[in-house]
Each structure stands twice: as structure tokens, then as C-alpha cells.
Amino acid sequence: MLTIDSLSKSYGKKQILNNISLSIEKGEIIGLVGENGAGKSTLIQLLATIDKPTSGSIILGESNYARHKKEIRKQIGFVPQELALWEEFTVKENMLFFEKLSWIRKSTGELKQLCLDMSLDKWDEPVHTLSGGMKRKLNLAISLIHDPPLLLLDEPTVGIDLKSRKEIGNYLQLQAKEHGKIVIYISHDMDEITSLCDRVVCIGEDPFYEEILAKTGTELIVF
């Protein structure tokens, strides 16, 4: 379980996040929406230990972020907004490279299976020859090599084809429902959000998002 308690973040005098409190259960998929510049990426970065809150606390399972940063990091699968992979490597080499750096050992077979699970079947092809959707899948697969229970994704499907988008969505759903992972997910695609997420968190009051989500009956929390 992930517990966020009175979390605030400011950059200088500029307050970005104000007093956010939220509890997320295992197996839940949370969507993060809001205008550009609202603070979605900021919240994900706080949850990923990349940045530090101005006040408030975050607790994952039994561990407090402020005290057990190292332990927490092993449990986080962070998928950055931009592609973070070796373009000149093949899919296989990328997976092997990051497996070596990872906390846990996986066989080449297991790594290949991880890719196949999200329909990434171009195992021996150099990344720069792959489609945007394939690259996004690899970007996600690399972040999941160490089987993290908490997945943090910053716009993982931005600008890719519908099929890849669906495949990534199905994979995340499987991870949450079958393996009890917590998935926190930023997206601008309302179809994707409403079909995938159990609850939606909107950063900043926004009548536009509130109206759409009210129609589909998705639970909305506004900060």
C-alpha cells in the first residue's frame, strides 16, 4: 500500500502541489490528469524519490521515503517521459545491458518473455529501426526488469499508434490485477484513462476533466 500524507511541493515561492493526501491499494491503477504545468510530473518524481517534498510524507508498505530511500528505489519501476534506451543497441542488448545493472538476475529467456508479454517481438533488431510504439514498449520493459511492485509512468503512450497503446494498457492491467502491482499513470488520453484506471487524480480544479469523468462514472479526486 502507498500512503501519501499532506504532501506539498514548491519551487521557491511557487507552490506546485498543495496538501495532497491519498491512499492506494495493491492492484490499483491510478490515472493522473491535469493541464500542462499543473504538477503531474512533479508528483511522479516525488513518488519516484527523484525529488523531495517541501512537506508531508510518503510511505510504501512499511517504509517511509524519508528514511529508507535505498530500499524504496528497489521497489520502483519508473518509466521516464522521454525514451531512455540505447538507440544503436538491439532490443536484446538493451535488456541485457540494464539487467546487468539491476538488483536481480534474469535469464535471457526471462527477459525475452518480458518483452513478448507486451507484444514486443523484435528481439534482435536495432532500436533505431523500430516504430515509436515498439520503442515505448522497450522503454517500459527496461523499467520492469527488477519486478518492482510500484510502477510510475509519465505519459508512457504519448504519440504512438492505437494498437501499441492498447497492448501497453492490457499489459499494465494484467500487472495490476494478476500481480497486485500499484500503477500510477499520467495520460492526456481520456479514453485510455477511463477504460484503464480505477480512480483518477486531477491536479488542480478543472471543470473540463471533471465533466468528462463524471459522465463515465470514474471516481475523481481533485487537489
Binding site: 531512455a84 534506451l85 545493472l101 527488477h146
Partner: protein, 379 residues
């Protein structure tokens, strides 16, 4: 270490050619330059004029030694002639063996035996004057020994068996025997140790050091590329921090460089008759460690890799000019003592162990390692 080595091998697989090229570059260029110099030197010897104000056995000996030096073309002439030829640059330098030379040698005095005159484009002045000094030193040494033997026999009141001349002759004889011995020992390796003085104008290790400096800097571009690449932020969620990754990779590069360094030592010993000693090997390892740390800290402080390449070439050029090993700037480093004491290649070129840059760079690296990183929330 194994994990990081495996990641590096994946990267090296794509850069095999470049890696091998830059690793071999110092060796190949050193051999090429040495070969180039020895062929041009063979065709065009350095013309040196000798003016004799007196002629004895001792001056003959000096002349003979100089004529045996392969890089020199020695000619005897009058003083006016020498000055004229220097002016029109037909001579590189001239040496006047002054009247009283033999007398001073016999007295054991080594001052003002010879006057050296050089043109402003002089190339051979230093090696020739060094050779002359060595010969004079030998001669005065012998005379001194003879004198001491005589003195001793006087003191102990024993009848003098040998005259001064006999002792000098005897010592030459012994020397010859020793030379013969040396020759037979070193017969398989070098012809140069007997007879011919191969006073080389360039030090192969000097050339090697400068190109090694360049290749080490250039091969550390991985650090800039990987630090600035998109994969950098993944290191927050890996077993190894980027710092640990960078340090371990530097150690892997160090090992590879050392492998090629030992290949260089072997090749230079076999083909260029370069002497090797334990001090030399330690001095080379220290140079290598210093170069790695220099490349490491420089690469860390650069964002743009092309700017880093330009900087590396410029810095290597400055090193080459100030070290005096490629461009013979007439012992510039010795004249300007600051350069000589701070020049990172100088300790190695003089077969010493350099600590200054080694310690300074170690402190910088340790400071960097202890500092908090960018993607590291500071709770």
C-alpha cells in the same frame, strides 16, 4: 565489477575498430616517427665544425669519438671559416678546442676547455656538447686516477713502478676489455653499445607519452556521452549509482590501457633498444593512473563532446610543445622551471615518479565521489 564489465563489453562490441585504433595509435606513431627521423638523419647528418688550436693524443681521441657519432658530420676548419659557415647556416654549430686543452686535462681541470658556438637554428648543439662533456669527463677521470695512484705510492714511500702514462694506458686497456665483455653480452640485442654512439635526438617514450595523452583523453568521451544521454536517469533505479558505474568503467579502461602499455614496453625494448627497469615501469604506471584521472575529471566537466575533442587536441599540442620531446625547443622546460615542475609528462620523461598531478587529481576524484548527485533527492 563483472556486471559493469559485461555492460562495457556490449558497448565495446559496437566500437571495436575505434577502440583498437586509438589504443594502438601511440605505438604506431612512435615507430613511424622514429623511422622517419632515422632515415632523414641517415641522409642528412648534422654538420658540426671543429677548430683545433692544438693537436695531441687527447684531442685526437676527442675527434675520433665525435666522428664515430652517427648523427654528426664532423669537419675540421679554421675559426674564421667556422664563423662564416655558421653565419650562412652551412654549419649547425662549431666547437673550438682551445690551446691548453691537454694541459688542463692533465691537471684534471674541466673548465673552459672548449668554446661552443651555435647558430640560432641549432639542432645538434646539445647532443654534441653532451658527447664532448662525456669524453672529457672520462679523460680527466683517468688522469685523476693515475695521479692518485702515484700520490699513494709516494706517501707510502714505495718505489714508483708506473709512470703516469703507463697508468693511463693500463686503464684504457682495462676499459677496452670491459667494453669487449659488454659487447659480447649485448651482442644479440644491440650493435649500438660498442663503437658507434647512437645519440638519438628524439626519445621514443616522449613521442609515445604525447600520443598516449591524446588517445586517453579521446577514449574517455564515453563518460560525456553516457552522462548526457537519456539513459543517465535510469541509474537512480539500478544497483549501481552512476558514480559507481563511472568509476568501475574507468578501472576497466585503466586495465585495457595498461595492457597496451605493456605491449608498448615490450615492442620498444625489442625493436628500439629502450632500456626497461622497475623504476621505469612504476613511473609509467603512475603516468597512466594520472592520465586516466585527468581524462576522467576533464570528461566530467564537459557537456559538449565535440568541444571536448577540440580541447583534447589543443591540450595535447601544448603538452607536445612544452615537453620538448617532439619539437626540440632547446630544453625549454629546463629553462622555465615552472613548466618543468608542473608539466605532467616531465616526471615520466626523466624516469621519475610524478606525484603532483596524481595527488591533485585523486583529491578531485574523491571530492566528486563524495558529493551528492543531481538525481538524488536529499532527504
Amino acid at each position: 565489477m563483472r556486471a559493469i564489465l559485461n555492460t562495457r563489453l556490449l558497448l565495446w562490441k559496437r566500437q571495436k575498430g575505434m577502440l583498437l585504433f586509438w589504443m594502438l595509435l601511440p605505438i604506431i606513431l612512435t615507430f613511424s616517427i622514429i623511422m622517419l627521423i632515422s632515415t632523414t638523419q641517415g641522409n642528412a647528418k648534422i654538420p658540426v665544425g671543429i677548430v683545433l688550436q692544438e693537436q695531441t693524443d687527447y684531442t685526437d681521441r676527442l675527434l675520433k669519438e665525435l666522428s664515430n657519432t652517427s648523427s654528426l658530420q664532423v669537419e675540421i676548419m679554421t675559426e674564421e671559416e667556422a664563423l662564416h659557415q655558421l653565419e650562412i647556416h652551412k654549419l649547425d654549430s662549431a666547437f673550438i678546442i682551445k690551446e691548453g686543452y691537454t694541459e688542463k686535462i692533465l691537471k684534471g681541470s674541466r673548465n673552459r676547455l672548449i668554446t661552443g658556438i651555435r647558430s640560432d637554428l641549432s639542432f645538434g648543439y646539445i647532443p654534441v656538447s653532451e658527447a664532448i662533456q662525456a669524453i672529457i669527463q672520462q679523460d680527466t677521470g683517468r688522469i685523476k686516477a693515475a695521479f692518485t695512484v702515484q700520490q699513494l705510492s709516494k706517501e707510502y714511500d714505495s718505489p714508483s713502478i708506473w709512470t703516469m702514462n703507463e697508468i693511463v694506458e693500463k686503464s684504457k686497456e682495462i676499459e677496452k676489455q670491459e667494453n669487449l665483455l659488454q659487447t659480447s653480452f649485448s651482442f644479440t640485442r644491440t650493435k649500438a653499445s660498442s663503437g658507434e654512439n647512437k645519440s638519438s635526438l628524439v626519445n621514443p617514450w616522449g613521442i609515445w607519452a604525447i600520443f598516449s595523452f591524446l588517445s586517453t583523453l579521446l577514449l574517455f568521451d564515453w563518460l560525456i556521452k553516457e552522462k548526457n544521454s537519456s539513459i543517465y536517469k535510469r541509474f537512480t533505479f539500478t544497483k549501481y549509482s552512476f558514480k559507481m558505474y563511472a568509476i568501475q568503467n574507468s578501472i576497466i579502461y585503466l586495465s585495457l590501457f595498461l595492457l597496451f602499455d605493456f605491449i608498448s614496453i615490450s615492442l620498444f625494448t625489442i625493436f628500439l633498444n629502450q632500456p626497461t627497469s622497475l623504476t621505469f615501469i612504476i613511473s609509467l604506471v603512475m603516468l597512466r593512473l594520472t592520465l586516466i584521472m585527468a581524462a576522467f575529471t576533464l570528461a566530467l566537466s564537459f557537456k559538449n563532446v565535440y568541444l571536448y575533442y577540440v580541447f583534447s587536441f589543443t591540450l595535447s599540442l601544448i603538452m607536445a610543445i612544452t615537453s620538448g620531446s617532439i619539437v626540440p625547443l632547446d630544453r625549454l622546460p629546463e629553462k622555465i622551471s615552472v613548466i618543468s615542475s608542473l608539466h605532467p609528462l616531465q616526471p615520466f620523461l626523466h624516469n621519475k615518479i610524478g606525484f603532483f598531478w596524481f595527488i591533485l587529481l585523486s583529491v578531485i576524484v574523491m571530492f566528486w565521489y563524495g558529493r551528492k548527485g543531481k538525481f538524488d533527492a536529499n532527504y
